[in-house]
């Protein structure tokens, strides 16, 4: 057995993304000695935070990069709506209020903000964008952590925890035991654990295991090892164990780390068919930013977990350019051929849809009056016939962003065992986001939860380590 060198740290932070870094920095600022264990090698550090781009922030008046105001109540109502009420109001309001106070601290540690990016005007009021995105933020935090004397170890995947009566004793990496006075767990969900994902999504009526065809939009290191370890140790959980945030991405997306650019944003401008060339959902139900997160699940429910977003030349330039070129043909038959769809069935679907289009005044910026009449499913807005070649098609598959299952915490970010808070084990980030976000999502709220509860967990862990130090001295 190998004991970690340089003595026992006050605070052990397990994880290497935004929440872990916020916890490490805060604990260090509170005077604790901190060791941070990142499972990934340095070049892949930062977990899903490297793919993020903004922080949802409450503010009562315009601030540097944020327009207008986004008061607590509005933020709370938004959160209540997207989660369908699966949220803890006390913790949610804590996250919301703290989101208005954390940006100066973030700046102090090297994070820069910028106004909302092009194509994201709808977020200019509510979300503060990180200049350069989440990886720039992660880099800044690591630099700051190193400068403050936080010890950082890469390629340090903790595989089990030593927890006695709800108290953290040590973490284990293989045969190495790493003891600490207190611990912050911030090592993400289980979305990159293929077996677990398969189990969570189950088998469909056709005998398929849908999760086998999913892309993971983020890191390959979120394998849920410590989530499972905590569950086995009897920790209380929260959030839907079978659910994940699921987006329709380009079917050519890489298996991991496809991030934002694999999103296909032209769904509302055309139609989407399944592999039998049949439409299956209202493509124009609502604005795309409000609907993109349901399309992953919709595609996951189709045979082969595949869909095809089809547009015509009229749509070009109206949506974020996709990362891979689409199939392109001058005829519908040609497009069907390229996409591997039955041409007869595909042309029939498009003709039926085209004939059903009741074109009024097309306006993609409002819920316009272009709709269909007489096809099922209906397309309720932006329904224009596909009649202007060339036609474009993009194959879609489900892309998992994160999982909802988490560990129950309180305002101090303490983990719970049989309804009792742990004295020295705290949780932050995706691992406890389910307390606030039991289901659904709204842009930037993951970073809000990670930042706020990361800082709370860091403060709590530093205080717990100090208390334990006092107790030890007294004993």
């Amino acid at each position: 057995m190998k004991q970690t060198s340089l003595g026992t740290p006050d605070v052990l932070v397990i994880g290497g993304g935004n929440a872990a870094l916020c916890a490490a920095l805060t604990a260090r600022e509170a005077g604790a000695s901190v060791l941070l264990l990142e499972a990934a090698p340095r070049e892949w550090r930062g977990g899903n935070s490297s793919h993020t781009r903004n922080l949802r922030c409450m503010h009562d008046a315009p601030q540097d990069v944020l327009t207008d105001a986004y008061p607590e109540e509005e933020f709370w109502q938004d959160l209540k709506k997207v989660t369908g009420g699966r949220t803890n109001e006390r913790l949610a309001r804590l996250a919301i209020r703290e989101s208005s106070r954390c940006r100066d601290w973030m700046r102090k540690h090297g994070v820069h903000f910028q106004p909302s990016l092009s194509g994201t005007l709808h977020l200019s009021r509510t979300n503060a964008f990180f200049m350069g995105g989440g990886k720039a933020l992660v880099n800044a935090y690591y630099r700051s952590a190193e400068a403050l004397g936080v010890r950082i170890r890469y390629e340090a995947p903790v595989d089990r925890l030593e927890v006695v009566d709800g108290e953290f004793r040590a973490a284990w990496i293989g045969q190495e035991r790493i003891a600490a006075r207190s611990c912050v767990l911030a090592s993400g969900g289980f979305e990159s654990n293929r077996e677990w994902l398969r189990e969570a999504w189950g088998q469909n009526a056709d005998g398929e295991w849908p999760a086998d065809n999913f892309a993971i939009r983020g890191t390959r290191f979120n394998r849920g090892v410590l989530l499972k370890a905590m569950m086995e140790a009897g920790a209380d959980t929260i959030g839907d164990p079978s659910q994940s945030h699921c987006v329709a991405v380009d079917a050519r997306a890489p298996l991991y780390d496809g991030g934002i650019c694999t999103r296909i944003d032209c769904v509302s401008l055309g139609i989407v068919v399944n592999k039998h060339a049949q439409r299956f959902y209202d493509e124009g139900e609502d604005f795309w930013p409000k609907r993109y997160a349901i399309w992953g699940r919709l595609v996951a429910q189709q045979a082969g977990q595949v869909g095809y977003s089809v547009i015509d030349a009229k749509a070009i330039g109206r949506f974020m350019p996709p990362v891979f070129p689409g199939a392109k043909a001058d005829t519908l038959e040609g497009l069907a051929h390229q996409l591997g769809l039955d041409a007869l069935a595909f042309v029939r679907t498009v003709r039926e849809y085209n004939a059903a289009c009741r074109v009024g005044t097309f306006d993609h910026t409002v819920l316009d009056d272009c709709h269909t009449d007489g096809v099922t499913p209906a397309k309720t807005h932006w329904a224009l016939p596909l009649d202007t070649p060339p036609y474009y098609g993009y194959a879609l598959k489900p892309g998992i962003t994160f999982t909802y299952l988490g560990l129950k915490v309180d305002e101090r970010a303490a983990a719970y065992f049989a309804d009792e808070p742990s004295g020295n084990l705290f949780v932050a980030g995706e691992m406890m986001a389910g307390n606030v976000l039991g289901q659904g999502y709204t842009a930037g709220v993951g970073m809000t939860i990670g930042t706020v509860f990361g800082r709370i967990a860091g403060t709590s862990a530093a205080a717990a380590a100090k208390n334990e130090g006092v107790e030890h001295a007294a004993a």
Partner: protein, 386 residues
């Protein structure tokens, strides 16, 4: 065999007037399409906002964007798709490779564009020629490089008219060659008519090196992801040092022709003060840039262009060092030697200007001007508004 086929195809494409993009240009097109679907880096510089005005990236767009890139490196470290990601996005490197290609492709006369390829050799040869020329001339005229002190009278060694007749045409050639090259580049990227506001903004962007500030004012990465203003500051010292030396020569020319005041000038005279100040800037600036260049992250830019970067830096250093040495030793018997060496270095610097790193300032200024024009026009791609 495959190489032969590629060559044959390229030859036939050329004959038919089809523009065959280079592998460097294809790479920029590839990575720009990935960036255009991400856009996280929009705040760093002008490249990404310019990118969002396009859905396709033709050769002219690629040339424009490559020269708009300042190789600051910020986007590489911030990139979620940078190596080892399978998308292997490295904008600074992709852009640098095309930039190097544009200098060579747009060089005038085009045959001399190849001088960019072995730029270390180009610089060395130019220096050898410059030194040999002036040393030989000094020897031929005086029989020896050492002489009784001449109280700084350069013209006793090289008469004023002789120097004018040598440097005048070279200077003119440099101006014409760079002018024709950048004019061709400008036509290629079809930039449009610049307004006074666009020109003024470009001048500011160039003189302040706006796009080395990282977008947030704290500078850009060098050896790792930490930001530093060092590159911007050393570049300023180099640029303004160069301009001060240029001003010294300009003032001296006016003194000579307008007022009939002939060199040598007193240490407190305007030409000597400007030259000394400029020389010091041109000593510290390039030294700093060389230090940064050596320590630069290996993933930034195009490693094949390091000899060009360092060759230019070396010539600048040699010019300032020999100039200051000449000033220090102008009353000694070594003045002729110091003068010949200084003039040789200056000659080499000027001769290689249209075929070396100096060109980056000219092409980048043109790209910045296009950006200043373009950003004032409505965005042809409507994505941002919907």
């Amino acid at each position: 065999m495959q190489q032969l086929e590629t060559l044959l195809r390229e030859a036939s494409d050329l004959a038919e007037g089809i523009v065959v993009p280079s592998s460097a240009e294809i790479e920029v097109e590839r990575v720009m399409k990935i960036c255009n679907a991400c856009r996280y880096c929009e705040g760093f510089c002008a490249v990404f906002p310019a990118m969002t005005r396009r859905l396709e990236f033709n050769q002219a767009d690629v040339h424009y964007l490559a020269n708009l890139c300042h190789n600051c490196g910020a986007c590489l470290h911030a990139c979620q798709y940078a190596p080892p990601h399978e998308f292997a996005v490295n904008i600074p490197q992709a852009m640098a490779k095309v930039r190097g290609q544009t200098y060579s492709d747009f060089a005038w006369p085009s045959a001399l564009g190849t001088l960019y390829r072995n730029n270390g050799l180009t610089v060395a040869l130019a220096l050898a020629v410059g030194l040999a020329l002036f040393l030989a001339m000094a020897l031929a005229k005086n029989g020896t490089l050492f002489h009784a002190p001449l109280a700084g009278d350069f013209y006793a060694i090289f008469p004023h008219n002789l120097l004018v007749s040598m440097f005048g045409p070279v200077f003119l050639f440099v101006a014409v060659a760079l002018g024709l090259g950048v004019a061709k580049f400008w036509r290629g990227i079809s930039a449009g008519e610049p307004s006074a506001v666009a020109i003024a903004e470009t001048a500011q962007d160039v003189l302040k090196l706006k796009y080395l500030d990282g977008g947030h004012g704290q500078g850009c990465p060098n050896e790792d992801d930490a930001n530093t203003l060092a590159r911007r500051r050393f570049h300023h010292l180099t640029f303004y040092g160069f301009m001060l030396c240029f001003a010294a020569t300009g003032v001296a020319t006016i003194y000579h022709y307008a007022f009939g005041w002939e060199a040598p000038y007193a240490l407190t005279s305007l030409p000597v003060l400007l030259g000394t100040l400029g020389g010091i800037g041109l000593l510290i600036g390039p030294t700093g840039l060389l230090w940064l260049n050596v320590r630069r992250n290996a993933q930034h830019g195009d490693a094949a262009q390091k000899p060009m970067d360092r060759g230019f830096i070396a010539l600048l250093l040699l010019t300032s060092a020999t100039g200051l040495a000449l000033l220090a030793g102008r009353d000694t018997s070594a003045m002729a030697l110091l003068l010949a060496v200084h003039l040789g270095a200056v000659m080499a610097l000027f001769l290689t200007m249209p075929y070396g790193k100096f060109a980056h300032g000219i092409y980048r200024t043109a790209a910045l001007l296009k950006w200043a024009i373009e950003k004032r026009m409505p965005n042809p791609v409507g994505v941002g508004s919907e």
